[in-house]
Structure formats: structure tokens, C-alpha cells
């Protein structure tokens, strides 16, 4: 089986994101960029499937400008076998990404597609669902456990109030939640090998996809500042407030 993982280049999770002064977006100049952490989890899961003999090949797909190759290369250094770069300088929104992924997936015909449940930049959490819908494939989102059977996958999903386990027929789309696994670091030998692994380049035009944005960003603003907390005198008072004011216990 071939496993597809999508890897997005985002502002590193350690960077304190700042809104541009003109409110058109966030500052990305001189900011460290990394692979979306949920996508790292996706790569890790795919690698574990290959190591367990459940998959033969792991293909990392990245979409966006030239620099996205760095992110794909990072996936290769983690252990993915090859990469596909859909190169475009246009702003890519979830629907466009889903259409582009569908086009690549139909060419490559993987048995399983793993995406992060969301990217930590715009937090849309739409691409996985849209990709599955466009392909007409089953989807299992927010996975905290993935077991691959013969023709289906058993996925444990993190949902409000607990865990839900579903069986989905393969091929399918799975999106990763935080607790699915702990991704590995790239090892030095794999970093050195990554250079020799191929990355195919494609464009939206070649794939016959109209990737034009459908949404217009009106304004980007900082979230409101956090209000000061209070000190309580005793544990009893804390419990009382949690029960009667916050209503959480």
C-alpha cells in the first residue's frame, strides 16, 4: 500500500505570531517556518505503518511556493520515500488545496491519505474533509489511534466527551490529532539521504485545477488581551468557584 501525507509549511509553533501593522495578515518576514505539527504526526504515522509492514511507500506532498520544498525535504529526512511539490505562488485556501490533492491522489492512487487535522496558521480544519468529499472516499478525522486491517481502517477519534471508534473502508482519508503519536526527529543519516530522494514538481495548471481563492480576508486582528486572574484563599473557595461560577465541576 502507498500512503500519502500532506505537509504544510507554517510559522514555527514556538514563534510568537504578530499581526501586520496594516491588518492584512501576520508577519512572516524573518520568521522561522516549520512543518505543521499535525502533519509531522501524519508523517510519523505513515512511517510507522511502513515499518510495521503495512505500507510499502510513503509519499509526502507539499503545495505552495519554492520554499515548500524545504518542508517536503524535512519529511524525506524523517523517512518518507519521495515527495511531490505542487508549485504555486498563489494564496492557497482549503478548497484549492483539496482540489489539488484530489488531482494528485487520482494520479497516484494511494491506499491511505493522512493529513493533519488542521494547520496551526489558519486553523481551518477543512482540507481533510473536503479532500475526502471531492474524492468520494470515507473519512475519519481527529484520529488518536489508527489500525489498518485488510480492506478497512479502524480509527479512534477524539470527540467531545470521549473517544469514538469507527471502521472506514479503504482507500480513505484520515486526519491526525495530537495524541496519535510523538513524531521523530530527522536522524543525521536520514538527513544525508534525503537529498538523493526525488521530489516531483507539478503545477496547478498541469493538474487542471483552478486554485483561485474563494474567500476574501477583510481584516486580521490580535485576539483580545487576557484579563487578570484572581487569587483564592483556600481550596474550598477554589472548589466553590469552579463549581458555582465557572461551572466546570
Amino acid at each position: 500500500m502507498k500512503v500519502f501525507v500532506a505537509v504544510k509549511r507554517v510559522i514555527d509553533y514556538n514563534v510568537k505570531v504578530r499581526v501586520k501593522a496594516d491588518g492584512t495578515g501576520v508577519e512572516t518576514a524573518n520568521v522561522k517556518m516549520s512543518m505543521n505539527p499535525f502533519d509531522e504526526i501524519g508523517v510519523e504515522e505513515a512511517l510507522r505503518l511502513r515499518e510495521a509492514g503495512k505500507a510499502e511507500e510513503v509519499v509526502a506532498v507539499g503545495l505552495g511556493p519554492r520554499q515548500c520544498q524545504e518542508t517536503i525535504r524535512t519529511a524525506l529526512a524523517m523517512g518518507a520515500d519521495r515527495g511531490i511539490h505542487v508549485k504555486t505562488d498563489a494564496e492557497l485556501q482549503p478548497l484549492a488545496v483539496a482540489k489539488l490533492l484530489k488531482a494528485v491522489i487520482e494520479e497516484e492512487r494511494p491506499g491511505l491519505v493522512i493529513l493533519g487535522k488542521q494547520a496551526i496558521d489558519d486553523d481551518s480544519s477543512q482540507t481533510g474533509q473536503m479532500t475526502a468529499a471531492l474524492l468520494g472516499w470515507p473519512q475519519a478525522t481527529f484520529a488518536s489511534r489508527l489500525d489498518i486491517g485488510n480492506e478497512s481502517a479502524r480509527v479512534t477519534r477524539e470527540v467531545d466527551g470521549g473517544l469514538e471508534t469507527v471502521d472506514v473502508k479503504m482507500p480513505c482519508v484520515v486526519t491526525t490529532d495530537l495524541r496519535l503519536n510523538e513524531p521523530r526527529y530527522a536522524s543525521l543519516p536520514n538527513i544525508m539521504k534525503a537529498k538523493k530522494k526525488p521530489i516531483d514538481e507539478k503545477t496547478p495548471e498541469e493538474l487542471g485545477v483552478d486554485a483561485a481563492p474563494r474567500l476574501e480576508t477583510l481584516r486580521v486582528t490580535e485576539p483580545p488581551g487576557r484579563e487578570a486572574g484572581i487569587k483564592v484563599e483556600s481550596v474550598a473557595e477554589l472548589v466553590d468557584k469552579l463549581r458555582n461560577e465557572a461551572g466546570v465541576i
Binding site: 524545504e70 525535504r73 524535512t74 530527522a186 543525521l188 538527513i191
Partner: protein, 386 residues
């Protein structure tokens, strides 16, 4: 001219940075509080680094090391410089001088060091022989096939965790055109050798938890097989293998300065006084401008010197310049950082005071600033006969 990193170099930097941020930063406060890294924790760090194939990255592949070139290794050191040396020491980088091991020593010292089974320390300084290395008093006299060592070494970094020490001692004196000079010989001394003792050193203001030790040799008898290289060529060995390690100091200074600087920029943008962020005041903004400029300058000096080593060009002066400038830059940057943070900069709630303390030793160890200036000036003037 190419100023960008290769994809491999970028990934090495990213991986080391991520490891340092995720695995080592969270341990720093405890290390500062206790001035100790428990050995089990040290071994855990070693195991993780080894699993990544990043252990002994400086040792050539032919000896089963990571085989990084000087430039890539310097980039790695720069990222390690961000964190506490008490922790980063467990990201094993055995001394390059061990590549001079003969076949027997290779099996007993180099290979176990590359595998992380043994940790080495390097001993040169003595109470009466600091910058004046040839003034060392530790002495080994020949007795048959053995040498008997007497004397003391101090300021020996991480001697407390070392399984063996690479020790430089005098083995005689020889006449040279410049007058009599001590013959210096390099020995490999196992920790448990009779007559050899590793004692706790001084409590330093810099690099808490990264201990220095005192080595005491009292009629310590070792076989001539313990000589690394040849009798009397210790000074040449040190010059051949160790001068590049000064680049490590420079690189670590740059890494630590960048971490400190990032905190300063963030603070200057957030901290408000007189109704505006303090970064809007020229007293702070010009400091930041100078800090950024000096950090970049030190970074490029350091990387350029490493690049020269990879090209096989003379790099002695450039390495001295990088070590001199980067260590003095770190002093200025961390001092300015304390000023920008004000009172909080001196409190141990923030790492700023630690960076400031840690910066002080960088101008002293691995050749003082004065020795670096001497090397630079000598390189300039000696060809002119001055």
C-alpha cells in the same frame, strides 16, 4: 559566493534546534537550581542523541562518527550553544585529537567515545600554567617501559563525568634556537588508574552544573602505550587537533547571543513604560540595533572561519578572530540584555542573568581574549619579520 545553507545544513540546524528546545530547555531551571545533571539524565540525553545518529558528529565517518564538515559542525555547535553546557555536554562530541589514536588506542578510547560508552576530558591548565602552557609543571619520568606522572591540573571541564582524560604533561626539556623548551607529551589516562585522582574543582559563576575538576597525579604509573601520538610531540598534536575547537566557543557564543537577543526584542515590544513599548525609546532601540549587528558579524566571522577549514585554507587567525569577537560580543549583548530587562534581568526567574554570568568565561577559556589577540597580531606581523 554563497551565503545560504544547503538543505542538509538547514535540516541539521532545524533538528538540533528542535531537540534543544524540546528536550533540553525544559531541564535548564532544575540544572540551575541544583547545579547538577544526574548521570541517569545525562545517559538519557546521550541515548536520544545516539538514536538520531547525531552522536560524535565531529568524528569522521571512517571512525564511525557523524562525519560532518567543519561548517556544518559549527552550525550544530551554534544551536547547542543556546542551552546549558551542563546539558549539551551529553550531546557527545569527543575531542578530535582522539583521531590520532593508534590501533590499540582506537579500540580502547576512540571507538567507545564515538559510541558514547566513554566520555573524554582534556587537561592542559595548571594552577601556575594558564596561558603559558609550556610553563606546566606536571611531569612524567620514564622508568623502563612505563612513565610515572606527578603533578596537578585544574579547571578541567567535565572531569567529573569523564571515563578517561587526555592529559598533557612535560617529559623533559630540549634545547631550541629560542632557548630551552619543555617537551610536552600527551597521555590517555583512565579514571581508575592508581595514583590518579579526579577531585571536585571550584564553584564557578559561569555554566552552573557544568563542573570543572582538579586532577591529582601522585606517582601515577602508566605504560608507554598510553601516549597519544609520540613522546615530545604533544604541543604539535595540540596545535594540529585542538586549535579548531576554539571555533566551538565562538559558535556557542553566537547561539546563546541569539537566544538572549530574541527575548530582548520580544520584551522591548511588550514592556510598556511612559505609555509606550520601551522599544520605541532610542535608548533601547539603538541597543537592539547594535546587538543584532554584532551577532550577525560574529556569526559570519565564525562560519567563514569554518568554511576556510573545509577549503583547506589557513584559518588560525580567522578562528582566533571569531573566538575573540564572538566571546566579547556575547559579553556586550548579555550586558545590554540585562539593561533592557532592568531589574528583572538580574532575577533568576528569567534566563537573562544566567546568560550574562555564563558569558564571562567565554573570554577566558580555550585561550583568553589576550591570547587570541596575540595570535592575530603574530599572524599579521611575523611574515614581516616583526
Amino acid at each position: 559566493m554563497e551565503f545560504g545553507l544547503s538543505q542538509e545544513q538547514r535540516m541539521v540546524v532545524d533538528t538540533v534546534r528542535s531537540f534543544v528546545e524540546r528536550e533540553l530547555y525544559p531541564l535548564e531551571n532544575e540544572v540551575e537550581r541544583t547545579a547538577l545533571v544526574p548521570r541517569e539524565l545525562g545517559r538519557e540525553i546521550q541515548d536520544k542523541v545516539r538514536a538520531l545518529g547525531f552522536y560524535a558528529p565531529n568524528i569522521p565517518r571512517e571512525f564511525d562518527g557523524g562525519g560532518l564538515d567543519h561548517l556544518t559542525f559549527t552550525l550544530l555547535e551554534r544551536e547547542l550553544g543556546r542551552t546549558s553546557m551542563a546539558l549539551s555536554v551529553f550531546w557527545g562530541r569527543p575531542s578530535n585529537i582522539l583521531c590520532a589514536c593508534n590501533e590499540d588506542q582506537h579500540a580502547r578510547y576512540l571507538s567507545p567515545s564515538v559510541r558514547g560508552e566513554k566520555i573524554d576530558a582534556l587537561a592542559m591548565s595548571e594552577p601556575d600554567a594558564g596561558s603559558d602552557v609550556r610553563g606546566m609543571k606536571a611531569f612524567a619520568r620514564r622508568e623502563g617501559d612505563d612513565y610515572v606522572i606527578t603533578g596537578a591540573k585544574h579547571f578541567i571541564s567535565h572531569a567529573d563525568i569523564a571515563d578517561f582524560v587526555i592529559v598533557f604533561v612535560a617529559t623533559g626539556e630540549e634545547e631550541t634556537p629560542a632557548g630551552p623548551k619543555k617537551r610536552i607529551t600527551c597521555f590517555l589516562i583512565d579514571r581508575d588508574t592508581p595514583g590518579f585522582e579526579i577531585r571536585p574543582g571550584y564553584r564557578a559563576v559561569s555554566h552552573r552544573g557544568y563542573h570543572n575538576g582538579i586532577l591529582a597525579f601522585d606517582e601515577c604509573r602508566v605504560s608507554a602505550n598510553q601516549i597519544l601520538g609520540e613522546e615530545g610531540n604533544g604541543f604539535d598534536m595540540a596545535n594540529t587537533w585542538l586549535y579548531a575547537t576554539r571555533l566551538t566557543v565562538a559558535a556557542m557564543c553566537v547561539g546563546r547571543a541569539r537566544r538572549c537577543f530574541d527575548l530582548c526584542v520580544d520584551w522591548a515590544a511588550r514592556r510598556r513604560q511612559f505609555g509606550q513599548p520601551i522599544g520605541r525609546f532610542q535608548g533601547v532601540s539603538f541597543k537592539l540595533a547594535d546587538m543584532a549587528t554584532e551577532i550577525d558579524a560574529a556569526d559570519w566571522l565564525t562560519l567563514a572561519a569554518a568554511w576556510r577549514l573545509d577549503q583547506g585554507l589557513d584559518a588560525n587567525r580567522q578562528i582566533a578572530q571569531a573566538k575573540l569577537y564572538a566571546s566579547e560580543m556575547l559579553a556586550r549583548v548579555t550586558d545590554a540584555a540585562v539593561q533592557i530587562f532592568g531589574g528583572m534581568g538580574l532575577m533568576d526567574d528569567l534566563p537573562i542573568e544566567r546568560f550574562w554570568r555564563d558569558a564571562r568565561v567565554e573570554r577566558i577559556w580555550d585561550g583568553t581574549s589576550e591570547i587570541q589577540r596575540h595570535i592575530i597580531a603574530r599572524d599579521l606581523l611575523r611574515p614581516l619579520g616583526a
